[in-house]
Symmetry: C2
Subunit: 270 residues, 2 copies
């Protein structure tokens, strides 16, 4: 196979499994080329991605040697993507009875979720989480794409346990907005003690769910290395957590004027 | 940019959004090359993928002209992947009290799910579904990856409706195995009338859930063009649906002998 062919195959392999380290030997064996030829191939891919802001190709030195693709987005790309989601959220047709905003179609679009996953991977990849943890149901698609972008497993905490999970740890927590006692439970075998976890959810009001998830992680003796949410609301003003990273700030839903007031989070704009 | 650089960029763009049609003009503009040069680039990517069984690059003719990547897997690849999942399911440590099998770690692995999504895209892509529909919770990751591989939205049917969904259609159905009355509900705005849908779930015993989902789709005046399940159990013998495509057949869980008897579905082996 000639260089152009090799580059097509290597690019596909690397980018369809972000963060995964591929041994250089896998490629040299497959194409029957030497390491120096392969290094030149990788240099071309790296330079192309750099020039077009398509993420980073990273070579890992060591006895075996490896290469991986990191789906890193520039701040400009993040802003553009988040602005795009905000523009779609401003559609007054999304306003539901009770002042809720319909977002189910957004958190169900694979292409949109893919980018959101890459944003979380860009911001939290450096903390080397080993698991992405979320709570059912609406957070699952967002969390899965973050897990995909980081090449780590997803762990879904349940509202109610099922017999197919084996022994579970169940915990009560107070939902921050409604001030109700709710329950979350997680299979004992879902998460090894001492793991580093990234918490991801789609929507946060007071932060009661993320507060509860953080406490649950403590019970599993796991360390929370990051907390990401797609949308944070402006109400209530007092939050139960303060070290989370929202992408979108939903200031207000004005039912009377039929307006959704929404903007990218401060850290993206600044 | 030289050919090798262009091929890296085009390959990444095409493969990270399977089934999506990209206008040829997007690439000719980006690289400032003519259509014939770009055609040669695409021919190299197509030939490489064909030689390495990496899926198909398809050119769409017409006024504008487009190109897309289809993540088609060969029967040999499908068998190898499904055999690999079966091997992991045979681990006796998965057997839970009550004869259940723990599968949460498998349906939480992004790399495994990616392949499962591509298998469903390979088998159902020809029916051109417009939505993937599943029911919460465990089916969501599998269904999302099928939606991703087909570049269509995911629709999640709820067990209980939430105020953030707007008006919903609620339906009772009989779970096939437990013979209990259960409820499913879906937002009216989640699915346009007359859509072609692909139903995906992780686990099927009698098929009551898929039967219920099919009936719910009828209420939305949608056409079910396919039904895929990751694992089908050998019990009960009588199923409530018969036109579904399972990937794995779970024959028996022998608690006494600590054995999980499992194999790829017939259509994959034959």
């Amino acid at each position: 196979m000639r260089r152009a062919h090799r580059i097509a195959a290597i690019t596909k392999t690397l980018t369809e499994r972000p963060h995964h380290v591929f041994a250089v030997g896998e490629f040299t064996d497959l194409f029957e080329v030497g390491r120096s030829t392969l290094s030149e191939d990788l240099a071309i891919i790296r330079a192309t991605f750099e020039a077009l802001h398509m993420g980073k190709v990273e070579t890992i030195s060591g006895a075996v040697g490896g290469v991986r693709y990191l789906p890193l987005l520039t701040r400009e790309h993040i802003l553009a993507h988040v602005e795009d989601i905000c523009a779609r959220l401003r559609d007054p047709q999304r306003i539901l009875p009770g002042g809720f905003v319909y977002i189910d179609d957004l958190i169900s679009s694979p292409a949109l979720l893919r980018t959101v996953g890459s944003i979380f991977a860009t911001e939290f990849g450096g903390h080397t989480p080993e698991y992405v943890v979320t709570v059912e149901t609406a957070g699952i698609p967002v969390a899965l794409q973050a897990a995909y972008a980081l090449d780590i497993p997803l762990v879904v905490v349940r509202r109610q346990s099922r017999p197919t999970e084996g022994p579970v740890l169940t915990m009560n927590f107070v939902s921050g907005s409604a001030r109700q006692i709710e329950t979350m439970s997680l299979s004992r075998r879902a998460l090894p003690q001492g793991s580093k976890v990234l918490l991801i959810d789609d929507f946060m009001k007071a932060g009661g769910t993320l507060r509860g998830l953080t406490d649950l992680m403590g019970e599993f003796e796991c360390t929370v290395v990051g907390k990401g949410v797609l949308i944070e609301t402006g109400w209530p003003g007092e939050k139960l957590i303060d070290d989370h990273l929202p992408l979108i700030y939903l200031h207000e839903v004005d039912v009377k004027e039929q307006k959704v007031v929404v903007r990218p989070a401060d850290w993206i704009i600044s």
